[in-house]
């Protein structure tokens, strides 16, 4: 895999050296479900301030990878380092405190809560007051509630959700619900944001808007991002580096240009047409 090293070097040269700290390091991560291997021996690095795309055909193991990183699934082998802390399996109940937040391929919102309340729940890990303090509304409970409210309102504003702030999320269109999920993730101010197909099922206009929000998540909210997305145009435009999965294995890793030119990627994912056609198509 000469590709990996050259491209990391390229990337590191493009950005300031200070930002190149690793925020996520996967080594040899393998996950199988009853004999069916979902992901196999995956290495993946995410540097601070990076937008890191993972692409691949359906069933390639992209979502499984995100589920392993966020502690939903427990890998069979391998290690996951978040910052400097190394895990054999990431504890799901602690990921929020570790500075990880995520969205889901198929929405996982709290349907009985309004947009505002959903976003506020993203701050649950920061709450230390007891329910009695919260009911009476004194001291730190009051401060926490005010803080949660202010931060949630700010994120809702930033993601243009103000007009639906008090609506139950279940009554909102799909694209808007996707945005609420992003808001719920962002409000925790994560170091690492995992986005599992944030633009699936969206119109071109909605995709463009969402791409803007993903960039804002990095630039304004200082999150490093792992992005799963099928729209190659979006991925090429947004990402700093792209890892390509096929049948649970990583078959390529590098800058968008390098990945696009990789013959194995073209065979596995982009299509079997001639190289030049593909490049023109995705530029269009």
């Amino acid at each position: 895999m000469g590709l990996v090293s050259t491209n990391v070097a390229e990337w590191g040269g493009a950005k300031s050296a200070a930002r190149a700290r690793q925020i996520l390091t996967l080594r040899g991560v393998t996950l199988s479900f009853g004999g069916v291997t979902a992901i196999s021996d995956i290495d993946l690095d995410v540097a601070e301030g990076e937008i890191r795309a993972i692409i691949g055909p359906n069933g390639a193991g992209k979502s499984s990878l995100i589920n392993v990183i966020s502690g939903v699934y427990r890998p069979d082998r391998g290690t996951i380092a978040i910052g400097d802390t190394v895990f054999a399996d990431v504890p799901g109940s602690r990921v929020a405190r570790l500075g990880i937040a995520r969205t889901y391929q198929n929405l996982a919102l709290f349907k009985g809560l309004t947009v505002l309340e959903n976003v506020e729940t993203g701050r649950a890990a920061t709450v230390s007051s007891t329910f009695i303090e919260q009911v009476i509304g004194i001291g730190r409970a009051r401060r926490e509630e005010a803080d949660t409210r202010a931060r949630s309102e700010a994120v809702i504003d930033a993601l243009h959700l103000t007009s639906v702030r008090d609506r139950l999320v279940g009554t909102l269109p799909y694209g808007v619900q996707k945005r609420v999920e992003l808001a719920r993730a962002l409000v925790s101010e994560p170091r690492l944001l995992l986005l599992d197909e944030p633009m699936a099922g969206m119109t071109a206009g909605e995709k463009q808007e969402m791409a803007g929000f993903v960039l804002a998540a990095r630039d304004r909210f200082n999150a490093s991002i792992v992005l799963i997305e099928h729209d190659i145009g979006v991925v090429m435009g947004l990402s700093d580096r792209i890892a390509v999965l096929d049948y649970g294995r990583k078959i390529a890793d590098g800058t968008p240009d390098a990945v696009r030119a990789d013959q194995r990627v073209i065979d596995a994912y982009l299509g079997v047409a001639h190289d030049d056609d593909i490049i023109e198509e995705s530029n269009a």
Binding site: T162, S163, R167, L172, Y174
Partner: protein, 350 residues
């Protein structure tokens, strides 16, 4: 999933919010000042006393089942724990004020609730419901088997103590009503506040999507057990009201599985995850047999005896549950909202 077809709302939705407190406040004022103007002893003792106790139990169960999504068939057991604990605290601890006995009784019910809530950490839905049946049978068996709980009274039925609060004794139908009402108002205000806090949001988050809740940082296990604890506390106190202010005796058979189902039906008919639904549902369940009995006697005369009444009541409640689950899963509370909205749309000012 038809949500995708619903258009984006007007931005005005956030502006047109009305404060939610005046209506409940008006109801409380009416309950204290209005009802005593016309209420008879019959209304107090036969309708309002069980209504208040069942409403409170339903508020408690709604926190657990409606908000936190953990189905329980053990409500009557927690009522029994509350009633017996209050009786024994009052009996055995010299000079303990009645209110303290009630609070301690709530805490005991809470502890028992947490113990029987432990299976919720592993079980969901139907399986959890079945495991809470254990509470129902175990508690009833314990209270019957060990006569220490009923102070070795041969019949197992014991008289409730007087409702003495700081020297003032709540006596007679009206007095007992005021006592019950005050306890119900205090705990209902507590519950209504609770569900609006982060803890309340955590309840709903755990109910709606446990995995997403955990990953978002909601302490799922803690939240579930807290729901059992708070719910059982309130249900335990409701049990005290049932025994001390309504029946004025304490006996285990009033707290059987039928009662647990009754409370579950109240929150289904009234509306899951609403505070006011508990009161709507309880009103329906308490008033229904009385209306049915009057109507039955009027229509069928002496053929409509107590056996027929009992049966027709069961059939009607069963039918109501089915109708509500199909036509209005959010219960009477949602039905009320819908009617209010219709009326507002028709009025020319809006």
């Amino acid at each position: 999933m038809t949500t995708a077809s619903i258009p984006l709302p007007r931005p005005a939705s956030a502006i047109g919010r009305v404060p939610t407190w005046p209506l409940p406040l008006a109801v409380i004022v009416f309950a204290y000042a209005g009802i005593p103007l016309f209420a008879s002893d019959y209304l107090y003792d036969a309708i309002l006393a069980p209504f208040l106790a069942l409403s409170l139990a339903a508020v408690g169960l709604n926190i657990l089942t409606g908000y936190a999504g953990q189905v329980s068939l053990g409500s009557a057991a927690f009522m029994a724990v509350g009633a017996y604990a209050a009786y024994n605290f009052n009996l055995r601890v010299e000079g303990l004020p009645l209110l303290a006995s009630i609070v301690f009784a709530g805490l005991i019910a809470s502890a028992v609730g947490v113990v029987f809530g432990l299976p919720s950490l592993r079980l969901k839905g139907f399986y959890l419901a079945v495991s809470t049946l254990a509470a129902q049978f175990f508690v009833q068996w314990t209270l019957t088997k060990f006569s220490w709980f009923s102070n070795y009274n041969p019949s197992g039925v014991i008289d409730a103590p007087a409702l003495n609060v700081f020297g003032y004794v709540f006596e007679g139908p009206h007095g007992r009503y005021l006592f019950s009402l005050s306890v119900v108002v205090a705990l209902t205000v507590f519950a209504a506040r609770l569900v609006k806090t982060q803890t309340g949001r955590n309840f709903i988050a755990v109910r709606d999507n446990e995995t997403a809740a955990r990953i978002s940082g909601v302490p799922v296990l803690h939240t579930k057990l807290l729901a059992f604890a708070i719910s059982s506390f309130i249900i335990g106190v409701a049990g005290v009201l049932w025994a001390f202010a309504y029946l004025r005796t304490v006996e285990p058979h009033g707290f059987n599985l039928d009662r647990s189902f009754q409370i579950l039906f109240i929150i289904i008919i009234g509306g899951l995850a609403t505070i006011r639904g508990a009161f709507f549902g309880a009103a329906l369940i308490v008033v229904l047999p009385l209306v049915l009995s009057r109507a039955g006697t009027f229509l069928f005369g002496s053929y409509f005896d107590s056996g027929v009444l009992d049966m027709s009541q069961r059939i009607l409640v069963g039918a109501l549950i089915i109708v509500f689950l199909i036509a209005e899963p959010d219960g009477l509370a949602a039905l009320g909202n819908r009617i209010a909205r219709r009326l507002r749309l028709k009025s020319p000012t809006n």
